[in-house]
């Protein structure tokens, strides 16, 4: 099937590939590092270009760069108008409001807003949201792919089914299995809340279904009749591990259909982090693999906002993760396993789905690649074995699960990929969302009083306040509002339209230099329901 292949992986030709990874390596927060010999070669290709040299600087430099003479004198300088900016920002926004029953909202979730802004073309982030129909609760997740979007796409489609199945009681599993066996209609497991742009792959659904069925069959076999309370934490961990395992297995086994065969390989050779929240009443579980983050917005009694982190990043900034990696591998590898803040000097997240290059033995990798389709063989990246690759696996998809019991003061949860967190501090994120959700129209009037204030200072302060007000009114979606701030914030923490417009008008190939894909889900809790739960107990 040559045509779809072209569609799905149009950039496989060598020169093109070098361009993607070549540019990627100049961005200091790219998942994949640039130290490989192949990639450094490609860097050479670009270094003579003076404009690109500036990209090697830390990300702060983009501001100076855009403010600089060269940018200003570009003849075809153009700005997006505010409506254009809005149409870009709002292209992917989605809101879901939990329906109210009998005028009373029994769910602890009021609803959620989600949105994503691409930097890669195509975007590598994915998001999912679904209500569990056979158990209570709602699942929400963000997935940050790397080396393509195949893995994040697969995880976004499949993970919630694995979690839902893990949570199902034995009887329900049996019922489902019997239904499949006898060809009857299946009980629906999940109700998805999807933006039209969030797609599921039709071709692979049969394959994915079979793997899932194998999983529940095993669950049925394991839990022989004893009905025990299902532990959510365990279910989440099992689901994550099982899915990653299935991804790996499917790639090893292959598929007679060449398209599917190539697909499962691409899923396995690319990677994805996942941050998933399961909310059931006051019980909030966050399962995290990689460097996306879940942040709880807490409103203190005085109305101010504080941020409670509900996940740990699995990257080099997390000492426990570095420690874990060092312990899992022989002492001799202590220096090479984490190098330049990356796993084996290459990968930024220390846990991820897919990425079999960091999981399989060298033999297995070579065997699969050789027996795989030609496209895979021609791909320099997949063929490349990480340096110091001695004791695989180096990477796991096992999540770290955090439990939090919701309190009335917990107003919302922000799930977002690292694209957000590297541009904004968590306190700012919580403050912006909090003020957005509560309406925040009660800005205290300013009085000069006896203070020494210059006109310039006052002007700065007022512009900031006005920007806040105007941007609040512009967005109907908390995630959009947050992205607007993440991309357009100036040094005062106020949205600067010019800056926003510049950032959004960057050509595809430059966008990734200045920002990562951003995906955000903001879940709003119902304080009354949460409070009622609390009072019941």
């Amino acid at each position: 099937m040559p045509a779809p292949t072209q569609l799905f992986f149009p950039l496989v030709r060598n020169c093109e590939l070098s361009r993607i990874y070549g540019t990627a390596c100049y961005c200091h927060h790219k998942h994949l590092c640039c130290s490989s010999p192949y990639l450094s070669q490609s860097r050479l290709r670009y270094t003579p270009h003076p404009a690109y040299a500036t990209f090697c600087r830390p990300k702060e430099s983009w501001w100076q760069y855009t403010q600089g003479r060269r940018y200003a004198s570009t003849p075809q300088k153009f700005y997006l108008t505010p409506p254009q900016v809005n149409s870009i920002l709002k292209a992917n926004e989605y809101s879901f409001k939990v329906p109210e029953f009998d005028g009373k909202n029994v769910s602890s979730i009021l609803g959620f807003d989600s949105n994503q802004l691409p930097a890669n073309a195509p975007i590598e982030d994915r998001r999912s949201a679904a209500t569990c129909l056979q158990t209570r609760g709602m699942l929400l997740g963000v997935f940050d792919g790397h080396a393509g979007c195949a893995c994040s796409q697969a995880v976004s489609e499949r993970l919630f089914y694995y979690i839902a199945v893990s949570l199902l009681p034995h009887e329900t599993l049996l019922e489902i299995e019997n239904a499949v066996e006898s060809g009857r209609a299946l009980l629906p497991i999940l109700q998805w809340h999807k933006h039209p742009n969030d797609y599921f792959s039709k071709e692979a659904s049969k394959l994915y279904f079979n793997s899932l069925r194998t999983y529940w069959q095993e669950l049925i076999d394991l839990n022989t009749g004893e009905s025990t309370d299902i532990d959510v934490k365990e279910a989440l961990i099992n689901a994550f591990k099982r899915l990653d395992n299935d991804i790996s297995l499917e790639a090893q086994v292959g598929d007679p259909n060449s398209f599917l065969n190539y697909l499962v390989l691409r899923v396995a050779f690319s990677g994805a982090t996942a941050c998933v929240a399961h909310v059931d009443g006051v019980d909030l579980h966050v399962a995290n693999t990689g460097d996306s983050r879940a942040m709880l917005g807490v409103q203190e009694e005085d109305g101010s906002w504080s941020a409670v982190t509900l996940s740990n990043d699995h990257n080099a900034q997390n000492d426990r993760e570095v420690e874990r990696l060092k312990l899992e591998h022989p002492k001799g590898e202590a220096k090479s396993v984490v190098k330049q803040d990356r796993l084996l000097g290459l990968l930024m997240p220390f846990r991820a789905f897919g990425d079999v290059k960091f999981k399989w033995s060298i033999d297995l990798q070579k065997r699969v690649i050789e027996s795989g389709p030609d496209q895979l063989n021609d791909n320099e990246y997949t063929k490349f074995i990480p340096p110091n690759y001695h004791t695989p696996p180096y990477l796991t998809a096992e999540p770290e699960v955090t439990y939090h019991r919701l309190r009335p003061q917990d107003k919302f949860l922000v799930l977002a990929t690292d694209g957000l967190w590297e541009t904004m501090h968590r306190h700012d994120v919580v403050k912006i969302v909090g003020e957005y959700l509560t309406g925040m129209h009660h800005q205290q009037p300013i009085a000069v009083g006896g203070y020494k204030v210059t006109l310039g200072q006052m002007h700065g302060l007022l512009t900031e306040r006005r920007a806040k007000m105007s941007s609040v009114f512009e967005d109907q979606n908390a995630a959009t509002h947050l992205i607007r701030h993440a991309v357009g914030n100036n040094e005062f923490g106020a949205v600067d339209h010019e800056r926003l417009s510049k950032m959004l008008s960057l050509p595809e190939e430059l966008a990734r230099m200045y920002r990562d894909d951003i995906t955000i889900i903001v879940v709003q809790f119902n304080s009354h329901v949460v409070g009622a739960y609390q009072n019941q107990e």
Partner: protein
């Protein structure tokens, strides 16, 4: 501001020259409330010790009136006067306003010498910046008009602007206007100085005394009730600023004074490191909506924002007064604008943001004059935040008004009687002032209509006309069609259609005019003021013969064009009167005459129960059928012969039109074109309109609006009262001898003055100008107020103008004076003088050649008209 004010008081007390006043003042303030004894009576009681009240007191006392009491509820020169930014600017849009400001400037300048009180007067000059070409045009128009009344000013380049002020960013400017003699002054000190001078002249001043209400008997002021007792008086002057509205309504017979306050903010800073020079000019950046003046080495800067905050809608509210706080968020756009204009000020330290409510009126002009309902009740208020600039001049005119009965200049544009009770709604005022306040710095383009407070008075045909594409203008609250947009035509959005050049409706009006000339058009003219005067005997005729200059003793059914003159022979009103019967008359006047004419008639009509004056404006819908085929339409609808033989011009007959009976049909059109006016009882309006349109279809009838009417009228040299004619214009000055019957057998008002003028000759002459080298498509259009030059010498200003589609030229109307070259004195203007001159009209600094005519250019018109066919127009507004 406050400490500054205290220092003023202290200085006052130590000043020996004002001891007299200080005694009065300190005794008033030191003594307990009950121990103050107000005089039992006075000739004049002035309420309000701000700049207006003190200025009126000052001028009255200078004119020799001594028996005057001035009452102030708080302290003198408090309120808006105390907070005023202190900028005296003569660059105003109306000539009368320019004259008032110019007089104020000269008065304040010598006030310190006269009274010994420091007023802080500094001649700084002011610079008006233009960021756009349109703004520059607007400034150039003001500049031309300032120059001809003797106020020096010039248009300067941005480079020159930079030399005048050290911090100004001039990169985005296209030009500016420099008025070197403008000044800054402390308004509170001016008010105190005026009070002190008045007090020396014998005016008694009492502060902490509130006026509760004015006592009225038989429509005449008899006294004032205060919280400290009564004062009998003949005249009362309401100078209560933003409280004038409430005070006006507190009488038993309420006086409606339409004004409303808005919060106004300005910023004070600490001095700059190198303090600004005292004489640094004041900067006005209307496109940036701000003004900036030097203030004690730092700056004072405020502006008129787009989103004003109206205040005190529900009257004087202590809570709101206390909550008059700085609102920085509201000030933000103005601050941005300031820093854009003067980026170097970023480091300047803020002292304070002052919130000082200012009073605004529905048409952005101040309010002065006598109440139409209570004689002796005068008002001077609603300064639209130009109180300091107008204070001196307005006080002078009002004092003249009280003493002489009329001011020395035409102040109709500012007269309280241009408003009626209909503008008194609080909701209307609140909405309207929110539009007026930003307008102070908005571009003022020709033919601008207010957007708020509309659709108050409408004709019964409003919806019908609106559905047919009518675009509306408002006059005295009445909606009138300007023109009708054909269904297939798109006009510019309101904001974009602001232009000083050819407007986008040009072709539309052209087709309407053409239809009036060739077929027949119908114009809804229901807004006209309509009075009926009836009596049991001959009283009606007698009183009208006395009040009007033309002979009204005509056969029943005749219409007479006549002026209602004052003692000096000037037009108080210009109207058409139809004699309905021996003892009843139907009087048609301009729309905005409703209050003024009513007051004038009431004032001069004898108290006689057998003489009835009735305002029937609301009873009739007026349709104007203009055009050669109007005859055909009407005769078909009434089965009556309408030809000139059966229905001569200037004739009035009640007849049936369609099914409706009792329609007053008058053979006049207010344009000089053939046609009829139909005065239709309102319940028949829709029927008659439908019938006219149905029957008219085969004659090519269409709707037309006032713009077409205006074009037709001006090319026929018809003057309008309120624009071309005013209380200082006599019929002889505008070529209307034929409408004056000096020998009609009985005396009439203004007769003596006219007789004298006839003997001596006139000092100005109403003239029609046809622009010669003016390109309608490319050149700026004339409006009104353009200076007229004769042989290079300034001789007067235009009063109105329109494009004549017949002549294919612009036509301006205006007055030609003859100023002596040596002394500048006015000399007699003869027809010869007018005819023997080379004329130029100055439109925004650009002069166009013009041909002067004293009579309409009949030869240009295709159809012949009889000589007595000349009729008066009504009175289209600006």
């Amino acid at each position: 501001m406050f400490h500054r004010f205290l220092s003023i008081i202290r200085r006052q007390r130590t000043s020996p020259r004002c001891q007299n006043w200080c005694l009065a003042r300190s005794s008033a303030s030191a003594a307990e409330a009950h121990s103050v004894t107000l005089p039992a009576q006075a000739q004049v009681v002035i309420c309000g010790g701000g700049i207006m009240g003190t200025s009126v007191a000052y001028h009255l006392s200078r004119m020799g009136w001594k028996d005057i009491v001035l009452l102030e509820q708080g302290r003198l020169a408090a309120g808006s006067t105390r907070f005023c930014a202190g900028i005296l600017s003569t660059a105003r849009h109306l000539t009368i306003e320019q004259k008032m400001a110019d007089y104020s400037n000269k008065l304040y300048e010598q006030l310190e010498q006269e009274t010994g009180i420091q007023t802080g007067y500094i001649r700084t000059g002011s610079v008006f910046l233009a960021q756009t070409q349109d703004r520059l045009i607007s400034l150039k128009r003001i500049n031309s008009r300032l120059n001809v009344i003797g106020i020096p000013s010039e248009i300067i380049s941005p480079k020159k602007v930079a030399e005048l002020h050290p911090f100004l960013n001039v990169h985005d400017l296209v030009g500016a206007m420099h008025v070197p003699e403008d000044a800054v002054v402390s308004s509170a000190d001016v008010a105190l100085a005026l009070a002190s001078a008045a007090s020396q002249n014998g005016v008694q001043i009492y502060d902490r005394t509130s006026v509760l209400h004015v006592m009225v008997k038989k429509g005449q002021v008899t006294g004032v009730e205060t919280d400290k007792g009564q004062i009998e008086c003949q005249y009362f002057v309401n100078c209560a600023g933003q409280w004038a509205y409430e005070l006006g309504l507190s009488n038993e017979e309420p006086v409606s004074i339409p004004l409303h306050a808005c919060e106004h903010f300005y910023l004070l800073t600490r001095p700059l490191e190198t303090p600004l020079q005292n004489n640094t000019p004041t900067i006005v950046d209307p496109d940036g909506r701000i003004y900036i003046r030097n203030w004690q080495g730092g700056i004072l800067s405020g502006g008129f924002e787009k989103n004003p905050k109206p205040i005190f809608t529900e009257g004087k509210n202590q809570l709101e007064i206390q909550n008059l706080q700085e609102d920085w968020d509201h000030f933000e756009p103005l601050l941005s604008s300031l820093l854009r204009r003067m980026p170097e000020l970023e480091m300047l330290e803020i002292l304070k943001l002052v919130n000082c409510p200012e009073t605004f009126t529905p048409d952005m002009r101040c309010i002065m004059g006598e109440s139409p309902v209570v004689r002796g009740y005068f008002v001077l208020a609603g300064m639209n935040s130009a109180g300091l600039s107008f204070g001196g001049g307005a006080g002078k005119y009002l004092a003249e008004w009280i003493v002489h009965g009329y001011p020395s200049e035409n102040v109709w544009e500012l007269d309280l009687k241009r408003f009626g009770a209909l503008q008194s709604s609080r909701t209307f005022l609140r909405h309207r002032v929110m539009e007026v306040m930003p307008l102070i710095y908005d571009l003022k383009v020709p033919r601008w209509d207010f957007q708020t407070g509309r659709q108050l008075r409408t004709s019964p045909l409003y919806d019908r006309l609106d559905a047919q594409g009518a675009r509306w203008m408002e006059k005295h609250g009445f909606e009138r069609p300007k023109y009708f947009v054909p269904p297939d035509k798109d006009l510019l959005a309101l904001e974009q259609s602001k232009t000083f050049y050819k407007p986008d409706w040009f072709d539309i009006v052209e087709s309407e005019v053409k239809c009036c000339k060739e077929a027949v058009c119908v114009i809804d003219m229901s807004s006209f003021t309509k009075f009926e005067i009836t009596s049991t005997g001959d009283q009606a005729l007698e009183v009208l013969q006395f009040l009007f200059s033309n002979d009204l003793d005509v056969p029943v059914g005749h219409i007479v064009h006549t002026g209602m003159l004052n003692e000096a022979g000037g037009y108080e009103n210009d109207c058409s009167i139809a004699r309905l019967s021996k003892r009843s008359f139907f009087m048609i006047s301009p729309t905005d005459q409703q209050v003024h004419c009513w007051a004038w008639l009431r004032k001069h009509m004898p108290e006689d129960s057998s003489l009835v004056l009735e305002d029937v404006t609301w009873k009739y819908t007026a349709l104007n059928l203009i055009g050669p085929r109007a005859v055909d339409v009407l005769s078909e609808l009434s089965y009556a012969p309408m030809t000139p033989d059966h229905f001569p011009t200037l004739f009035c007959k009640e007849m049936s039109v369609g099914y409706a009976n009792g329609i007053r049909v008058m053979s006049m059109t207010h344009t000089g074109e053939p046609g009829f006016m139909l005065y239709i009882p309102i319940e028949y309006a829709l029927h008659v309109y439908n019938e006219v349109m149905n029957v008219g279809q085969k004659y090519g009838i269409r709707n037309a609006g006032y713009y077409a009417l205006r074009s037709l009228r001006i090319e026929k040299f018809f003057a309008f009262w309120g624009q071309d004619l005013n209380t200082l214009t006599t019929p002889l000055e505008c070529g209307r001898e034929s409408r004056v019957k000096l020998e009609k057998g009985m005396d009439f008002m203004g007769q003596d003055a006219l007789l004298q003028q006839k003997q001596n000759g006139v000092y100005r002459r109403f003239t029609l100008f046809i622009l010669e080298d003016h390109d309608t498509d490319l050149d700026l259009w004339p409006w009104w107020g353009e200076p007229i030059y004769r042989n290079g010498q300034y001789v007067g200003q235009t009063t109105s103008s329109a494009y004549s589609y017949t002549l294919e030229r612009h036509v301006c109307l205006g007055f030609v004076h003859n100023f002596s070259e040596d002394t500048g004195e006015e000399q007699v203007v003869t027809a010869d003088f007018v005819n023997r001159g080379e004329y130029e009209i100055d439109i925004a600094g650009c002069r166009f050649q013009a041909k002067a005519k004293l009579y309409p250019v009949a030869s240009f018109f295709t159809h012949k008209r009889r000589k007595d066919d000349v009729e008066l127009s009504d009175l289209h507004g600006k």
